[in-house]
């Protein structure tokens, strides 16, 4: 595969991605998509892309990325409180804060690698959670408003914007006058498609994030990060200090997390400590693994699948399940309901844990590896012999 072909493939990939994101609302409408869910896809997609830059390329498994997301969303809400309701400065400050936090935590954690690194990032994330939950939420130094979470108030100064709208309410988040929450509806093929302005902003950022991550994957810097993953000792022996590279990857992925946090606050201007909890860190790990760590689009697919399943599963309850198994004989139906009910609704996390274990055990390369296997299977049966030549191109990044 020569350089020209690969750059043309990349062009197709990014164009395809843009089309998919642009058509997202239309594609998702028949499957019960709605503006909030689509925004979630994009935001968690960004989060997972960023995480993948660290984990997929360098192999450093961070268990603390939720801390950067949380820090970013706090920063964005503070920006809404002090500067104004424009989302752009909020998102930028969220990225900066996410980057600063990750630089601090990365500087200490990256002294170690492997298991130690995971433990340390987990510990620091938990420390950030404690800070946000109790320490910085106390009167006197109230940065996070503790348990309640940081919210906008009418008497916030907003030095560069209006503190209250004309109707006397808190003004909505906007980008130069375009309100994030405003929803457009239009009819297409007999269905009503809903799109919010917020989705366009998220879509813009997810495309940018994807493009940047693709550039990193293809750059010499990305090659260096892959080398860190493959054999760090060897890199050190050749006289190269790998730590700055790892730290750079860590900070970049921290900024992605901050961006995701900022977008989250921009769509819904409040921030709570629970965003920093280890479960949230585990979730992004899961998204990346599920999609396929080290691949370009894997993490986004993973994020989409998880968020979609979450949306579906947590809306189920016993009644829905009973309706679902109606076609079965009564005793079998109720047995099925009894079996499945712990996995739906409140029990969504159980399903998540089970999926997580199954993926790690049976498909460590994630869905992308699964697709590749299926693809090989088909090609192998159709034109045997050429499969070997195709193989290197199969890990479709």
């Amino acid at each position: 595969m020569n350089a020209k072909a690969s750059s043309r493939n990349d062009l197709y990939l990014i164009l395809g991605f843009i089309v998919a994101v642009a058509l997202g609302p239309i594609i998702m409408t028949p499957f019960g998509g709605y503006p909030d869910l689509l925004q979630k896809f994009a935001i968690f997609g960004i989060f997972a892309i960023g995480f993948n830059i660290l984990f997929g390329l360098t192999g450093y498994l961070s268990f603390g990325h939720a801390a950067f997301l949380g820090a970013g969303s706090y920063a964005a809400v503070w920006c809404f409180k002090l500067v104004g309701m424009n989302v752009l400065p909020a998102i930028i400050s969220a990225m900066i804060v996410g980057g600063l936090f990750s630089a601090l935590i990365g500087f200490v954690s990256l002294r170690r690698s492997g298991i130690y690194f995971s433990i340390l990032t987990l510990a620091f994330a938990q420390m950030c959670y404690n800070l946000a939950y109790s320490v910085l939420g106390q009167p006197g130094m109230n940065l996070t408003n503790g348990e309640t979470g940081l919210q906008l108030k009418l008497d916030d100064p907003r030095y560069f914007g209006e503190s209250a709208s004309e109707s006397g309410t808190i003004p909505p988040t906007s980008m130069f006058g375009i309100e994030m929450k405003q929803i457009h509806e239009f009819d297409l093929f007999g269905m009503t498609v809903q799109v919010s302005n917020g989705y366009f902003v998220c879509a813009l950022f997810v495309i940018l994030a994807f493009y940047v991550s693709m550039r990193i994957f293809r750059s010499p810097f990305g090659m260096m990060l892959r080398a860190v993953k493959t054999n760090q000792n060897r890199m050190s022996y050749t006289g190269l200090n790998t730590r700055p590279y790892a730290l750079a990857a860590f900070v970049i992925s921290g900024m992605y997390a901050g961006l995701a946090g900022g977008l989250m606050s921009a769509m819904d201007p409040l921030a709570g400590a629970e965003r920093m909890q280890w479960t949230a860190s585990g979730e992004v790990v899961l998204m990346t693994i599920l999609g396929g760590a080290g691949t370009l689009i894997g993490p986004i697919i993973g994020a989409g699948v998880i968020k979609y399943l979450e949306n579906i599963f947590s809306s189920f309850n016993d009644q829905v399940m009973t309706g679902f198994f109606d076609f079965l004989p009564d005793w079998l139906g109720s047995a099925m309901v009894w079996i499945t009910s712990p996995f739906v609704g409140e029990g969504w996390h159980l399903t998540l844990g089970v999926i997580f274990m199954l993926i790690v055990i049976f498909l460590p390369g994630g869905l992308m590896e699964g697709f590749a296997r299926i693809g090989r299977l088909f090609r192998g049966s159709r034109k045997r012999g050429e499969g070997a030549a195709d193989a290197p191109r199969v890990p479709a990044e």
Binding site: F63, S118, I119, S134, Q138, L350, F356, V360
Partner: protein
Amino acid sequence: MDQILLQILNGLDKGSAYALIALGLTLIFGTLGVVNFAHGALFMLGAFCTVSLNKLLTMEQVVLDETRMTAWGTPMEIRTPFVEAWFGEFGTTLVEYAVPLSILVAIPVMLLVGVTMERGLIKHFYKRPHAEQILVTFGLAIVLQEIIKAWFGANPIPQSEPDALGGMLDFGAAIGMTEGTITYPAWRLVYFLFAGVVITGVFCFLQFTTFGMVVRAGMADRETVGLLGINIDKRFTFMFGLAAVVAGLAGVMYTPILSPDYHLGMDFLVLSFVVVVVGGMGSLGGAVMAGFLLGILQSFTAMKRPAIFPDAADRTVGEDILNVWYTILEYLPGIDQIIIYLAAVVVLLVRPRGLMGRKGVMET
């Protein structure tokens, strides 16, 4: 002086729990080379052994007493636990001593859980990358925790210690100080003693039995021990079970101090990891020592100036020092929540292998 003693005592119970969990973690890491993210879940499972036993013991029979009426005019329900109905006085004692009794339940249960976990899941991950070992145990932790949540609900379930071991203990009077200066919940002291017994037991087992000797040899050089014709895998599996038992027992006895709920394990796990890092990865003594040290450190930073504190003129030297300490703490509100992590940062920057870590073990 009494303040200092009180804080040390306060730190002991948390420190004991940290030490016990960290001991198990280190045992597993030292023998199998796996970091068990599900170890907190084992702690939680132990705690829920107590809850289950308690539920079982207090299962009630309902008898309608026709002679007495409630205020609503229905026959009064007399509820007595089955064990009391069957065994009378002895049954009442059984119910009261549910927490210590659960130890007997927890040992076989946790051993089974531990061995099943190792044989069924973790065994297949020795040759896979570290990241996957972490991920699979992490997934297992989520699953265990959610099963407990589905079964027992999300709310904490309070457990009570037996009356004889409950209440406050006047510790000051016991060691010859003025009465009433140091009062301390008796159960916490019981917990500390219990932890001491378990830790000593594990160390003696490793130090003075042939089995323990082989295990130690295996920790030092697994391959050579295997070449000598010893089935080291079997012994390591047992050690995993033992570590699970230690974590489970820590959970059983902790229930009266902190009502167990499903995410209890993860809260303790993160701190125990820090303890292991501070103590030195792979060092059993380091894990135990760091557990107690960090527990005590935490309680010292949680101190607050008491309402009745002598004025500057009537203070003794000790009280002056205390006053300075209180003032420092006032400027750092909530420092007790994060002090353990800060300690970990300092240790990591100054002495990367941990307080008692061996040279060359996990230094990179």
